[in-house]
């Protein structure tokens, strides 16, 4: 390995569009051709807060979508809900504002080598990387079905786009306002059977990831989980974003903290040491600052 490791791109990005989505979600599309051209589903960008420098740290966001249309400067879209002053500030940005972007960062979802039936399972804002994933999987000849869940109808992230990007979509809401009343995991086993899925990709709250991973293990399906953890740097230097993983030589107690930002954010579900995962302090998806 003599070549200099390829880093993420870092520099100013102009806001191409801000969009208010269904409550409680916001979308920000940034002109960042260098990030756009290299990005893969599951990777993230770290955005620096403009204006208020007392908001010190970058906030990590899953790459929601990229636009690589020829003849246009490539754009990267992120979606978020408001967790603190940082995300509140991002929601006030409008076209032509600039902010500093670092990305793409992290390990993306791994794709099957042969055409495979894939099932995507997303909950709340955690579904952010799954549209990009659906588009790329289909581009590689895989079948994509989707289970999208949320607390209410308004908490389903981009339901119309989800329908466009996948062969079937199953909605679940906690209150039954749309689709199945219950959790994504209530319908998972049945959707696996109906779609004949062999690989499951999931992103959302830790409790959901744990439940999805358990069902996939029982059904002997390959499962990849995109993790959300508090981060400070996003590129492996600070060791803030710790995820417990089994070590390869692995007995039950042979584990270590992995860096979510460089060894993840996408992990094979079988690598995560679930017994060590705490749900109590469930971290925010938007970094140490919110």
């Amino acid at each position: 390995m003599s070549a200099k490791a390829q880093g993420a791109w870092s520099g100013p990005a102009e806001v191409f569009a801000y969009k208010r989505l269904d409550d409680p979600y916001h979308s920000l599309t940034l002109v960042a051709p260098e990030v756009c051209s290299r990005a893969a589903p599951g990777q993230f960008v770290a955005l620096r807060m403009p204006e208020d420098r007392s908001l010190l740290l970058r906030r990590p966001f899953s790459i929601h979508r990229v636009d690589r249309r020829p003849g246009w400067a490539g754009t990267v879209e992120v979606v978020f809900d408001i967790r603190g002053r940082g995300t509140e500030m991002l929601s006030r940005l409008r076209q032509h504002a600039t902010l500093d972007i670092l990305g793409p960062l992290g390990r993306p979802f791994r794709f099957p080598k042969e055409p495979t039936n894939c099932l995507l399972v997303g909950g709340g804002i955690g579904a952010a990387p799954l549209l990009f994933l659906a588009e790329e999987l289909r581009g590689h000849g895989h079948r994509v079905d989707y289970i999208l869940g949320g607390r209410t109808q308004d908490h389903l992230l981009r339901p119309i786009e989800a329908k466009r990007a996948s062969l079937t979509v199953t909605f679940t809401t906690d209150d039954g306002s749309t689709g199945y009343r219950g959790m994504v995991t209530d319908v998972l086993a049945e959707r696996v059977r109906v779609t004949n899925a062999k690989v499951v990709y999931t992103c959302g709250p830790v409790a959901m990831l744990r439940a999805v991973a358990r069902i996939c293990a029982q059904m002997k399906l390959s499962c990849e989980v995109a993790w959300e953890e508090v981060m400070a740097c996003g590129f492996g230097a600070c060791l803030v974003c710790a995820v417990p993983v089994r070590l390869d030589r692995g007995g039950e107690d042979d584990w270590a903290w992995a860096r979510c930002c460089t060894e993840g954010p996408v992990f094979s579900a079988s690598r995560v040491h679930w017994e060590r995962v705490e749900e109590a302090g469930a971290p925010s998806a938007t970094g140490a600052g919110g």
């Binding site: 880093g7 420098r53 908001l55 740290l57 508090v230 400070a232 230097a237 600070c238 974003c241 460089t262």
Partner: protein, 311 residues
């Protein structure tokens, strides 16, 4: 654009420990350097102070390990590291190849553990100095850190200076009644220099969930929020021990911040939290500092520590 550095003397000599320029990277904010290689030419740095090394691997704390606070951040990593032997086998050879002076930060739960790490690093190639991180609970009295007690500080530093083949810098904590007393204990125990300062102990609580924001409840505060405390500490220690070289650290973000630390009495500085936000922060800060020197017509950086007007 790289600023004009002709006619500038940037190299500094800290009691025999030489750095090509006064801007190092602070322990715990630069890992072992590799993560920064895509963003920065490591050989252009004054030096790299690596993340603290213990004798055996330390696992670190559970998450959440970090929280932003106004102009700062709290961390509770728990000194996660693979141990000094793994560092020597897998990290140090690469880092030395980058042609940057390496300072090894060491940590332990007892004076004996510190000595075992220092002993393992004896004669290690490329390591120009040792920085002793005494902000660690003392196993003999786990409610206190070595750094808060002059006797415990003296014990650790006496032991480390006895076995180390490199000059030793003691990293002081601001969380003490009188930092000069701790500095005095370190100097009497034979430390060659001082690193001032480590993070300040802090805490933050989420008012929505009622939970502390760190898994360990309290953690180290860093970033621009602590800079005035660090400047004060450097000033107090340097006035008490004008002949003991100091590496100043705490919230450095700009070239002017570097100048401020040198004016307070430091001979070199280490950039910390800024590395997390801008992977090339230390390079930018060096460029800004050079511009500052040109603007102020200062030819030799080592003059700055005698230039504060206190009369």
């Amino acid at each position: 654009m790289t600023p004009d550095r002709r006619n500038l003397k940037l190299a500094v000599d800290l009691g025999g420990v030489k750095f090509p320029n006064p801007i190092l990277t602070a322990s715990g904010t630069f890992h072992y350097g590799r993560e920064f290689a895509p963003y920065i030419d490591l050989h252009k740095l004054g030096g790299v102070i690596v993340k603290s090394l213990s004798f055996k691997p330390w696992p670190g704390h559970p998450p959440p390990r970090g929280a932003e606070t106004p102009s700062g951040m709290l961390n509770a990593i728990g000194l996660q590291n693979p141990g000094v032997s793994a560092f020597c086998d897998h990290e140090l050879p690469w880092l030395v190849k980058q042609k940057v002076p390496v300072v090894a930060s060491i940590v332990g739960h007892s004076p004996e553990e510190y000595m075992k790490v220092a002993d393992r690093l004896r004669g290690a190639p490329g390591i120009v100095a040792m920085e002793v991180n005494i902000s660690c609970p003392n196993l003999e009295d786990p409610t206190t850190m070595f750094s808060s007690n002059p006797d415990a500080t003296g014990k650790v530093i006496r032991g480390v200076t006895r076995v180390a083949s490199q000059p030793v810098f003691t990293k002081l904590s601001p969380d003490v009644t009188n930092i000069v007393d701790i500095a005095k204990a370190a100097v009497r125990a034979g430390t060659h220099g001082l690193s001032v300062m480590n993070t300040a102990l802090g805490m933050a609580i989420d008012t929505e969930t009622f939970r502390p924001k760190l898994s360990t409840f309290t953690g180290g505060l860093s970033g621009p929020a602590v800079k005035p405390i660090a400047i004060r500490c450097v000033y107090q220690v340097s006035r008490a021990f004008p002949d003991v070289p100091i590496i100043g650290q705490g919230g450095i973000w700009t070239g002017e911040d570097v100048a401020e630390f040198l004016l307070a009495g430091a001979s070199a500085v280490a950039v910390g939290t800024a590395n997390f936000v801008e992977p090339n922060a230390s390079q930018r800060i060096l460029d800004e500092f050079i511009e500052y020197l040109n603007r102020k017509k200062i030819r030799d950086v080592s003059q700055l520590r005698r230039m504060m007007k206190d009369g």
